[in-house]
């Protein structure tokens, strides 16, 4: 491969950065400096715009490169991931989106705190939201670093480290200057680019096989060296029972975690009504579903056209399958078409990471400023200063994420994402569902439910083979491994629900019937919604 595609990729990426910085400047010219503006972009996005932004927030590089890479290497088992990522949206649509839009203002904690004693609940929900965001953020930063190393050939640690720093600095600029409005537009631009890129590649793959999906599958199976086993589950997760249970645990975390992700919940506040929130989720389900369907074609396409050996040769985890596929579809290495397509795919992958990290940083700065700072600060500070705190928090979260991203450079990205989903499903989802639907839920139940999901999830990870006890773990020399699964979801999600129930039934304080009535009426009708 020549350096041409790298130069072109850098150029395209610079164009994207310039455009997004332009958007940020443009948006901050108009800013009013209110919390409404910073956290929720004035709540005036249309359902279609918000649907694109949600899709842009959700489809990370881990999906674009990771899932198609997994399909290229392991066939059907990669597809299992994408099903979980999509079905999760039904939970969001049915149980969360409209009700959260009606009850809250900026964060998850708003919904819970409306019914409960505010301070303990806000501190608990704020803490878990920040934890989830930071985990997810680190995953994306690590992904950004390794992506650069892979695509631009800069395999040196220095290139990787500078990429992490650069991505972090850019996202701090987007978020602290542009707030939700700039973040939303960056996500919309990115979603359009990502969908465009995926559609173009899918069409090229299908053209190569004359539109015959069956032919594509047969060629992929044949080239994989596994035969028809490539098209059935079991190549990656079919080992012993621990591996199988681990996958069930991951599947549970994926499907229940999305509804507890703070950066997804905060997107519902950017539209004017619950109806608009519902319609934006319908848009995003269409976009995300279409996108994952295309990753199936791209993954099997990469297996059939590039071949698993070439993919594995470039990156053992399969992350370069789509760029290699683009190179081949454009005419092969050295050809103009191949160079251009490769560069475009690389630039889209960067854009994807930037947009996702901006969304998460914004959500976590909202949790820090609106929930934690507002509960812990001394009384009597001016309300206006909350936005200043949020901007500062964005810088702080960015710095922490850069530092952790540099430390965690060698961790597997997909594992970190799965972990963030597991924590979100264990700590955030139970308290949210209980607050919205359970009449007798109390403050103690809410606090127990958050910590009862958060602490086990984190402790189980520390005790898992990921951290110690096996040659592939973080600290191979130590043996703290008491829990066999890599993903804690199977145990910690039920624990979160159980702790919430236990806290409620042992609570001395009687449930507040009037506040429950208020939450229920507001959630279902939108009365008093902001």
């Amino acid at each position: 491969m020549t350096g041409n595609h790298q130069t072109l990729a850098l150029l395209l990426f610079s164009v994207f950065v310039a455009i997004t910085l332009g958007i940020t400047t443009w948006v901050s010219r108009h800013r009013h400096g209110s919390a409404e503006d910073f956290y929720a972009g004035g709540r005036l996005f249309s359902p279609m715009e918000n649907g694109f932004a949600i899709a842009g927030d959700y489809m990370s590089a881990a999906s674009f490169l990771g899932i198609s890479g997994l399909i290229a290497l392991f066939g059907y088992d990669g597809l299992l991931y994408s099903v979980g990522f999509l079905v999760a949206w039904l939970v969001v649509l049915f149980l969360v989106a409209e009700l959260v839009r009606n009850c809250g203002r900026y964060t998850l904690a708003d919904v819970v705190a409306a019914r409960m004693r505010e301070r303990p609940v806000r501190i608990a929900a704020g803490t878990s939201s920040v934890t989830v965001s930071v985990l997810y953020l680190v995953a994306q930063m690590v992904g950004a670093g390794s992506l650069v190393a892979l695509l631009l050939g800069g395999t040196s640690g220095a290139a990787q480290a500078w990429t992490v720093v650069g991505v972090g600095a850019l996202m701090i600029v987007y978020v602290s200057f542009g707030g939700m409005r700039a973040t939303t537009w960056i996500q919309i631009v990115k979603a359009v680019l990502l969908m465009g890129g995926a559609i173009a590649l899918t069409v090229l793959v299908l053209l190569r096989f004359h539109g015959d999906f069956d032919q594509l599958l047969r060629t992929a199976a044949q080239r994989s060296g596994h035969g028809t086993a490539f098209l059935a589950p079991g190549l990656k997760y079919g080992g012993d029972w621990t591996a199988r249970l681990d996958f069930i645990s991951l599947g549970l975390a994926l499907v229940l975690g999305t509804a507890g992700l703070p950066h997804i919940l905060s997107r519902f506040y950017t539209v004017p009504t619950a109806r608009a929130a519902r319609r934006s989720v319908v848009w995003s389900i269409g976009l995300i579903g279409g996108f994952y369907l295309m990753t199936i074609v791209l993954g099997f396409g990469a297996a059939a056209i590039v071949g698993p050996d070439a993919v594995r040769g470039s990156n053992a985890a399969g992350n370069t399958a789509v760029p290699l596929l683009a190179l081949d579809l454009g005419g092969g290495a050295g050809s103009t078409g191949g160079t251009v397509l490769f560069a475009v795919v690389a630039a889209i992958a960067f854009a994807t990471i930037l947009a996702v990290v901006a969304g998460i940083t914004l959500a976590s700065s909202a949790s820090v400023a609106h929930d934690l700072y507002a509960s812990l600060r001394r009384r009597g500070a001016k309300p206006r200063s909350e936005v200043a705190v949020a901007r500062a928090a964005a810088v702080g979260v960015g710095v922490v994420a850069i530092a952790l991203g540099l430390l965690a450079r060698d961790l597997n990205v997909a594992f970190l994402v799965g972990l963030a989903f597991a924590v979100a499903a264990s700590a955030n989802l139970p308290v949210l569902l209980y607050s919205l639907f359970w009449r007798n839920f109390t403050t103690r139940g809410a606090v127990w439910s958050v910590y009862g999901g958060l602490v086990p999830a984190l402790v189980l990870v520390v005790l898992s083979p990921v951290v110690s006890g096996s040659p592939a773990s973080l600290f191979p020399g130590v043996d703290l491994q008491y829990f066999p699964l890599e993903n804690p979801g199977l145990v910690s999600i039920p624990l979160g629900f159980l702790a919430g129930w236990l806290g409620t039934v042992t609570s001395a304080e009687p449930p507040d019937e009037a506040k429950h009535a208020e939450t229920e009426v507001r959630a279902l009708t939108g009365a008093g919604a902001v």
Binding site: I23, H32, A35, E36, D37, G42, L44, S46, P47, Y76, L80, V83, G84, L90, V91, L93, F94, L95, E98, A113, A114, E118, V189, D214, L217, A221, T228, L231, A232, P233, G234, R244, F247, I248, G251, L252, V271, P272, T273, R275, A276, R278, R279, V282, G286, G289, H370, A374, P383, E513, A514, A517, E520, V521, R522, L524, T525, G526, A527, A529
Partner: protein
């Protein structure tokens, strides 16, 4: 990208929760001219909220109209969630525990696993469509009337709409 100017130009609208032109459909709230209820910041909410405002929510909650809306929501959502979660968990469990069954050919290279996986995509789209349709036809109108009535009732009492 120029469109971003749109939602931005009109400072007055930003604070008006009644502004719903973006969620176009039937012109739901046009011409009400209702002023935005003053919503204090969540963390500094006054403790002296009127007792009567709380009573109004209890009253609305017990009204037949609200019970009907809630019943319609629950009668749709509870069975649907049960069905799609069972279908998804069943799919994941079968895929991990019975790969031989999933590998059975159906037509050409397509096997049971492929059909089930694409079936998950299809049912997700169908559930989405059914939910949106149900909400639009069976819930939106009644919920909006209730919202309006509730806000009318709470406006007069201490504590405002919230």
């Amino acid at each position: 990208m120029e469109k971003q100017d749109g939602p931005d130009s009109g400072e007055a609208r930003i604070d008006d929760p009644w502004y719903d032109a973006l969620a176009s459909g039937w012109g739901e709230l046009d011409g009400t001219g209702a002023p935005a209820p003053v919503v204090p910041p969540a963390r500094g909410r006054p403790e002296d909220r009127g007792v009567r405002a709380a009573d109004i929510y209890l009253e609305v909650q017990r009204s037949a109209a609200f019970q009907e809306v809630r019943g319609r929501y629950r009668r749709f959502v509870v069975p649907s969630v049960a069905v799609f979660l069972t279908w998804y968990v069943g799919y994941v469990v079968v895929a991990t525990t019975a790969p031989q069954f999933m590998a059975r050919p159906v037509a050409g290279a397509v096997n049971v696993a492929m059909v089930a996986g694409l079936g998950q995509f299809l049912t997700t789209f169908l559930f989405t469509w059914a939910y949106a349709r149900h909400a639009r036809l069976r819930r939106d109108r009644a919920a909006l009337d209730l919202r309006w009535d509730t806000q009318e009732l709470t406006r007069g009492v201490a504590g405002g709409g919230r």
